[in-house]
């Protein structure tokens, strides 16, 4: 008990130095936590993706379309439970800074395949019934203060012109991992409008979403779909939704790696700062340790004192940093909602924070402990006075 009392009092004896070190650790943990959360957010789409959903796109590139006629052929394949389809619309709201994901989809099947988009039965019914209707995620609607019945105009970037939609439903995510910033409207509305302008571009879809009867059939069904359209004018590439989303992440793999590296560099820097603090502290206390050894305390007690003090400082900084991470992440997530629709500090990040703090605390204490233990009592006592 006395050893614990000494180590706690030692940790806060030099208030300015301990305070600044704790602040440094807190900022580092905050930076580490935010960077890890950015990485988690990057992968949020992958994590939220279902293994029982497949995405079929044009084998050449996602920018090329597939004929609508594939819908029926896919639906008839064994293992296919339901098929839906859609296009990336790429519209902007008022001006380009108001960017959010917007798709046209076949509404009935799409909402069946995506049960995580929770709509009331009345809203669902209203959306399906209204060809110019759309549904928006809760966060998106809140951001632009849209209410049910509001007319919203998107400016088409791929499909030129102003497109008017009526808000028929605001979906909520089934859980925290569901993106609530998306905008869905009827594929038919887009298709019919295109038909009037250029009939060649009509009846084309950007992707098919396929729900399989059992997740273990996913690979088999994917092969069957691609085989069906082999040697056609528009060959397909079918993969699980997870793999499809991962493909997108892979395009920005270098950025993710850079963020990961920066997050670890932050930890290494703060490790050096804490090691320096502990070295200074131990040098100052070498006399105290010599006195304790004189009185009969052993190397084990000295080790507990130095490691304990180091860990008290790093864990206090870590706890402060973790507490600060939540409001910082909320502000960061709000400011960059469009890019990171799911910006949640994960439990894994908190574990990593604590692990990093323990690692820093222990590594910073190793050399000072070695010095304190190795120094002879007589030499240590000579440093006093």
């Amino acid at each position: 008990m006395m050893i614990l009392k000494i180590l706690f009092r030692n940790a806060f004896h030099n208030k300015l130095r301990s305070g600044l070190t704790i602040l440094g650790i807190a900022v580092a943990i905050l930076a580490f936590g935010l960077l890890r959360t950015v990485i988690s957010s990057w992968y949020a789409g992958v994590e939220a993706a279902s293994t029982s959903r497949l995405v079929t796109r044009n084998a050449i590139s996602i920018i090329f379309t597939l004929p609508l006629s594939y819908n029926e052929k896919i639906r008839q394949l064994e293992g296919v439970k339901m098929v839906s389809y859609g296009n990336w619309f790429g519209g902007v709201y008022i001006d380009e800074k108001n960017f959010f994901p917007n798709f046209c989809v076949e509404p009935r099947t799409y909402l069946e395949i995506y049960p995580e988009f929770v709509l009331s039965p009345a809203e669902k019914k209203a959306f399906i019934a209204d060809r110019k209707g759309f549904v928006a995620g809760r966060k998106l609607a809140a951001k632009y203060r849209w209410k049910i019945g509001d007319t919203v105009t998107l400016k088409g970037t791929i499909y030129p012109g102003n497109w008017d939609f009526v808000l028929r439903g605001i979906y909520k995510g089934r859980d925290d991992t569901t993106d609530e910033t998306q905008f869905y409207f009827h594929w038919d509305y887009l298709n019919e409008t295109i038909k009037k302008v250029s009939s060649q571009q009509a009846d084309q879809v950007g992707f098919y979403m396929i729900a399989v009867t059992r997740p273990d059939l996913a690979a088999e069904v994917a092969l069957a779909v691609d085989k069906t359209f082999k040697n056609s004018l528009a060959e397909t590439l079918t993969e699980t939704e997870k793999a499809f989303n991962q493909g997108f992440i892979a395009m920005s793999g270098a950025i993710v790696t850079a963020i990961q590296m920066v997050s670890f560099v932050v930890i290494i820097i703060i490790m050096a700062v804490v090691a320096n603090t502990m070295a200074m502290t131990t040098r100052e206390r070498i006399g105290d340790y010599a006195i304790m050894k004189t009185l009969g305390f052993g190397s084990r007690d000295i080790t507990i004192l130095i490691f304990g003090e180091s860990l008290v400082i790093t864990l206090t900084g870590c706890l402060t940093g973790m507490i600060l991470t939540y409001p910082a992440a909320a502000a960061f997530g709000h400011a960059l909602e469009t890019f990171f629709p799911i910006f949640i500090v994960s439990t894994e990040t908190l574990y990593l924070d604590v692990l990093a703090a323990i690692l820093i605390g222990c590594l910073a204490a190793i050399i000072p402990t070695r010095q304190a233990i190795r120094i002879g009592i007589a030499d240590g006592l000579r440093r006093i006075g």
Binding site: R9, N10, K293, T294, G296, A378
Partner: protein
């Protein structure tokens, strides 16, 4: 045989040198002498004569190159570091020139500190520490931190810490070296009382003749050699 029983410390042919890189600096040469139980011995000598080194050796905080040091029934030169630490905790009370109190502990906690290495209960530790502080007249300042006490008071706390375990010997290295004259007199009077009334064996290193005057036996060291035989204090 009787005479041997009365000796609490027996030092035989003690040699000690320090290593400064490749340089070997001899400090003590063939030191042999005894200290009787209940004695108050002052070790005097000029700076660098080896007084503190000799004190450190017989208190078990440094190791001799050659020779033996028997304290009570134990030849401490044969003990390992861990055994020595245990032995020190039970048999030696330390009083230093700069008091050497732990700055983050209150006076009472400083005195209690060595008792944490014993099997005493928390209540017993507190009672012993309070009693020791009462003996040095500082029971009213037990909740003060060292920096809130004067030099003389800090040294009295250090004395309380030294006697709280009822050690076999008390070693004091320049106990009045950092004190004003009045405080120094108080501390020396206290040590005299510990020796005279409580029968504590005290070995004190000093180069202050006034401090040495309080001891019963005076030994001189010069350049690592004992320069006189056992004798009563001529001062």
């Amino acid at each position: 045989m009787d005479e041997q029983k009365q000796n609490i410390v027996e030092i035989r042919h003690l040699f000690k040198s320090y290593h400064r890189g490749s340089l070997v600096v001899p400090v003590l040469f063939d030191i042999t002498f005894n200290i009787a139980a209940g004695e108050f011995l002052a070790l005097m000598g000029p700076s660098g004569s080896g007084k503190t080194t000799l004190l450190n050796l017989l208190a078990g905080i440094d190791k001799a190159d050659e020779g033996s040091i028997r304290v009570g029934d134990m030849d401490i030169t044969t003990l390992t570091e861990t055994e020595l630490a245990h032995w020190r905790a039970n048999h030696v009370g330390f009083i230093f020139q700069f008091y050497n109190l732990i700055p983050v502990l209150k006076a009472i906690e400083n005195v209690e500190l060595p008792l944490h290495l014993t099997s005493l209960s928390k209540r017993e530790r507190r009672e012993h520490a309070e009693m020791a502080l009462r003996m040095v007249g500082l029971d009213h300042r037990m909740d003060h931190y060292p920096q809130e006490l004067s030099g003389g008071e800090q040294q009295r706390v250090a004395i309380a810490r030294a006697i709280v375990t009822d050690p076999t010997i008390l070693v004091a290295d320049e106990p009045t070296g950092d004190l004003d004259r009045v405080s120094a007199e108080e501390i020396l009077a206290m040590m005299e009382r510990l020796n005279g009334e409580m029968g504590k064996t005290i070995i004190m290193v000093t180069h202050d003749p006034r401090a040495a005057q309080r001891a019963k036996i005076l030994r001189h060291l010069d350049k690592g050699y004992l320069t006189d035989d056992d004798s009563q204090n001529p001062l």
